[in-house]
Symmetry: D3
Subunit: 340 residues, 6 copies
């Protein structure tokens, strides 16, 4: 089987434990993650060959990310080394009525200051069958956005499937360009897009909409606008997420192929161990489903949503679950019986 | 802005972690707190100038409380040093059907053995605008009760607003006097009282009542009895607390100005990280609201109840949240979306 | 009061903390437990004299189990020492939609390789009034099954009450015999059996049934079949357990004396701190109730179910609660008010 | 073999970890210990039957001490329950040039406020062969000193061997009496005393001396003075302790039977894991040696000093080592080779 | 007493625990420190009024530094807020033959990008008596160097004493200037300089020297060259540091007033808990000594060196010891006897 | 460069922390290691391509070893899966006069019960240049010894260099054969042997000797006997290890090529963070040196001994240091200066 290449930033994540606030913390749990890396980890866990392309500093902290990729069986043959620093994000884990909080410290990172010849995309993508990127990369810096465009165009030229998770982060996009000035050019090569309809409209420069995902009949028209912008588009998916509190969500999903709406049933997710990366878990499930279940789109959206649910029970950025565990959950085995 | 002075005991809190029982604990998390100190911390977090008056032993353990006050921007210029020991309380954190458990080890503390000239109240209160005490202090010892009376009378003479949280603790009141022998004299100078109606009646020596807080129309008559005992009284507030389990409560609040009942909507609070100090968080919100929102009593009770809800998500005795976070919760942003 | 002897394996339990998966763990919490030992701990906590009979290796790890028994006031005068190793089980604690997971590493344990003269049952049981075993022991090895039979027959001869928790573990029973080839001979001496009806049928070699515990009227006929196999049987009990998720269960219980069905009301159990050993907590409550409350079978089943509920809030294998705490819960004091 | 009874206070010890200062600690390691209890633990580890007599409060914290005694196989049949609180001591562990620091919080403890009928010494001591006390008990309070005297006199009457560790603590002795007003009466029944010569002189009201333990020939005369005060005395021992730093000591010992000086060779002790209780470890070795090796006093002093050395490598108050480990060290196997 | 103002960067320090390498760490201990801040903490501990001037980002991580300053009684009235991020340094703690390792992640910090009007030095310094800076600040960035020069000139104009710790960090000085192009202009206003002679020569652009600090007679000539460059200079001091291993050093110190050499005796420092900040502890002692002991320069150098020794036993960047503890060490009380 | 294949058992290591004894441990640090795996990790760190051949159970605990190998860049293409369990060893870390203690729980492991067709050695070794085994494997079980012989013979046939670390473990060798019945046949194909002379003699069935490694002139004759038994032998090396205490060793090394003795200077190693695996670190350095420095045997033995020294500062079984760090130590940079 050919491989899936993902491209993005990997960061050091420093999180408080036991629901402490930043001001109370005497230590931070240290792990490594980032949207596109998290997708690669999901795929590696499902047995898909995957490569994560990034740039990290050539120091001990950068070396930690390399060990993490290797341990998780994520290919790292095209990692670029250099730059000043590894991006960091601080995470304060909320509970109940108090939301989790992220403080970004990712400015001036090795990835943000990527240079044109850090990556030789022809070489990187030549054995690949799928290229995945997200809306985080073009939000980081002008250079990252340009690198992303080169990658996408090369992937397109080589005939790869291209997927994008829109991933809008309001705290990024600081370098002088608005999403709608950058994203349309990047998105038009995509075959698969994951995102809320309103986010897609916002990034494409369309007027604001307030979709009602319960009212299924209204959705095709809304999704069709996205298809108009993206001539290669085959699928749009949306994670349905109803937040009751920082510790309780209801999760479902929608997949639309330009024709039919497929919905995954809503599942209760409580308590939440860690919700960061749950969207990436959905994306990982989506790519896996489309590659594996082919035309069985119902199975694909069920798999994506169940993967997303399980991620909420896993500490850290990425989804350490197996295909079998996800399929068990789809079958309804969520009752917590101890296997023994 | 002039400052709020609070008076009471600060203790070393030794709590088990991860829901362990005392018998299982190989270590205790160490922090510092006490009802009136917790109120001062809330106020300092909201930007109010505040001073906490207490007595601690002149040793390394006493010194830890001083660093805590300073760190939290709580004034400590009038701390008395001396006595044998710092009061301690041991806390075993419950879960679900198992309640939390407190073992007090506060007898013979520096504060309980306070001496008449430990505090010069004329000096302490001269720049203040508000004096806050609670029913814990007169429950600790005869000396503490007398010191409290001196403080209250001085505050009254100097024209300060005076507030009291009734805070009945059945494990205290061991020195030979019953609440109704001590509290009426102290309460009669209060402008603001926080407490359940039945607690107020009990402390004032009134007959037992069983108020139905759902039946709003019946409440004014019941509250009015308290007003009769306390000629200076302007406001009575009650925290509404429906306990489902050690991990789940429903929280609301009532504020009555002798005329109108103001109610804060009930909020679900689950899971509970730490419920100790949630009443103090309510009290802190109440003082802040009355000082800041003036006649907007609805806003005050909403602020108090929301502060109380958020406290349940914070580890430790006091409420480490900002005004902005409380106002976000009032607006309904309790959905746990990660800010990023 | 004469004592209760239990017989079974005690293992080292190595569990991940904070809901980590095995692959994420850099350390394991270490504790000691096993079904029948857990029953003895419950009984010791309720003030019943109890002895736990087992075999552990004669090394430092075996010595740890001895200290654990002594600390918990469980008699250990007949512990056998020898064999290669202490059985281990690894526990990964689930949350929400992810189940907990047990990996057994108990093959070749000291207990599994017990030899005929490890225990002198005439001596061990001579001061006892009750003998308790479970379906785990005959599942471990041929030798353990035979040792169990000797113990049961001796207990029968000496006129002890005999109880059994069926405890079916599909990951055991590896030595070449099926439950229905072994269990009927062992069960026929029992006075009290705890287990699901379908488990009992399976172990007795009966046809599969799907009992509906809600439909009370159908149960006596189903239970009566078990009575037919076991001529000494006086009581059958079943733990009712409705799993909503790994963090939420509803717990009740049924006790049938061949005549009348007694039911304990269903209680919500959430969040779950640790569900391992909750069946043993039920069993411990059952023995205590039958010994103490005699003919008051409603009180016995209420006590058993409430003990089981509380166990879910206790970390580790056994139930560190008092009689008083269980009785408080039966009275409805599950509201988590802090006692102070 | 008959048993050794020890009498004294057991405290909760709260210590900082990883050499943190009090002011830096967010948690305290919790353990339980006290001079005489520590001696009992040593003896239990060497296989001697032992009983520790004390008074603890009748609450959860007192219950923790009971579990500790039971776990360590120290008899607790005569524990008195009552009083306000368990004594506490806070320990800050030094390193190198910084000394460890103890903050006592033991005033008003259950033990300090012991009442005459807490203990029935005739019953307690009737099966015993040895009674051990230390200079800490009469330093705590008048009541404790009196209780100690009753115990000693009863032991004397019943013909027990009596040993005392002088254990001078300058931070105690606060109740109005000086050591020399109390100790001579208590010491005169002792058969064995452990202590520095200058401490003994100080407690007996003798003039100050500065013994030179290197100059062996001068010691008998100095020790003989102690013999004069104590008509029953058979042995005096002194721990030789040369402190290089908080992490490095040189340990030896002297035993004098009124006739001959026996010396244990000096051993290097570095690094020090925990030096608290190392004197108690010496004392435990001394009692064990005198009971076991009888007239082989060289072996006794070697055993005592080696036990003391090993204690410095054990975290906590008491000495968790075996006879075999001590004898290995005496033979010179201190080289740290891993046994495998 | 008037106050000491220090100026520099404060960083988040993320250190591995228990001697783990970066690659092994699953968490980092989080604390806050920086050379000049550490000096202020020392002074505050000795009772000197002190203010630390810095710039931190206006986010939760910056807020943590503010709480730290407040807790340690270091004035923070002139803290500037803004910029992208707080500087970070990662610390891997060595042992024995393995050195500790620092990875800086301080580029683009709020402090490095300080702007001219962040600080109004006339106001900041108007109540001060002493201004302290170090060679780290001009090494960070052009802006920081310029800000430093403005501060120094203002201090000079206002008649403050000015001290500098040369603190050469080879991993800094990346912005295009060499130390000798920047430092001479800054140093010429100094009254007190702390540093090795060769470092001073290097920074002043002098030829390389290899001073032999054992050969005391040769030192005045070497120091005198520094005096020639710095017309205001009154004192030069040097920390003597002989490293045996990462866990063992020998520490002494030299103070030269242009006339006489004062030496502090060499002390053994082992084991080392944390050597970071030991130079700052020396500097803090030096300022304190010069302010307090005036012409008693021997006492000043003894105090500086002993403070430096004790710092090696304290975890974290700054020196949490009292004057009394330092004086005890000078008197030779380094023997680690537990005070009790 | 062709690769080094190592063959042996990998175990789960469960160690107590902070010098706790087993009986005190409430948790165990979990890591993975084994003599031959540790050698592969060293080689991978030095940039050598390496493959570790082993057998682990096909469960979650076996999966942890696979992630560990992958993370450390140790090849695992020929791992066999199956068997009952992963071998475990428990480690109690000593200090000062108390030795570390290992309790093995490795009986019945997947590796010990290896079956003939678990490994296809022709395939495994076809790209390799070096095969390494140790005396642990033939000590585990008859099957392991036979598997080892097949591997050695295949390696010999394919012309690989073969090295052996004698690694005598008295607690193994339980299956009925003595070392001298097994080892000579295995050793005769070796080109490089690491071990003490007396261990070699013991394993070869020679008479006992007591070599004096200080007396260099006597060593060639003693080593030559080993050469006589092993016709392919080119080098013998011995780790010189003088144990002062569990926290302090002196480490050197000898390399003899049948002609000349090369000695590495003795280095002080204190404190010891973890001495397990220090022999494997020596072995890893030896293979690296022989492969890289060729005829420069002095450099090889210096590298081996310095690698061994540094291992004592690293927590866990294997040596996480770089070539550069080892070379720095050889040059004498052991002084613990912080690099910054």
């Amino acid at each position: 089987m050919k491989k899936v290449v993902t491209f993005g930033e990997i960061m050091l994540r420093l999180s408080t434990e036991r629901h402490l606030r930043f001001i109370q913390a005497k230590s931070f749990a240290a792990s490594y993650g980032g949207g596109e890396f998290n997708v690669s980890v999901s795929l590696a866990n499902y047995g898909i060959d995957t490569e994560f392309v990034t740039k990290v500093p050539d120091n001990d902290i950068g070396a930690c990310t390399v060990k993490e990729m290797r341990k998780l069986k994520v290919g790292l043959d095209h990692t670029a080394f250099g730059g000043d620093r590894l991006g960091i994000y601080f995470l304060e884990t909320g509970a109940g009525t108090r939301s989790s909080k992220v403080v970004y410290d990712r400015a001036h990172s090795a990835f943000a200051t990527t240079e044109p010849d850090d990556f030789d995309w022809e070489v990187i993508l030549k054995d690949a069958t799928w290229f995945h990127w997200s809306g985080i990369t073009p939000a980081i810096s002008e250079q990252a956005a340009q690198q992303c465009l080169v990658a996408i165009k090369t992937a397109h030229k080589l005939g790869l499937k291209i997927s994008c998770d829109l991933n809008y982060r309001s705290k990024l996009w600081k370098y002088g360009k608005e999403p709608h000035e950058v994203m349309p050019e990047l998105l038009k090569y995509s075959h698969v897009i994951l995102g809320d309809i309103d986010t897609a409209y916002f990034m494409l420069g369309e007027n604001k909409v307030e979709p009602n995902y319960q009212d299924e009949a209204t959705l095709p028209n809304l999704y069709d606008v996205i298809f108009e912008y993206c001539p290669n588009l085959e699928m749009v998916a949306t994670t349905l997420r109803y937040s009751i509190s920082a510790s309780h969500q209801r999760i479902g999903g929608i997949l639309y192929n330009g024709n039919t709406i497929y919905k995954a049933a809503i599942k209760e997710v409580t308590p939440i161990v860690d919700r960061v990366g749950s969207g990436d878990a959905f994306m990982g499930g989506l790519i896996y489903g489309l590659m594996t279940y082919k035309t069985d789109l119902q199975r694909t959206i069920d798999f994506s949503a169940a993967a997303c649910c399980l991620k909420h029970t896993i500490s850290g950025d990425y989804n350490l679950v197996t295909k079998e565990e996800i399929e068990d959950l789809i079958k309804g085995n969520a009752t917590g019986k101890v296997s023994r």
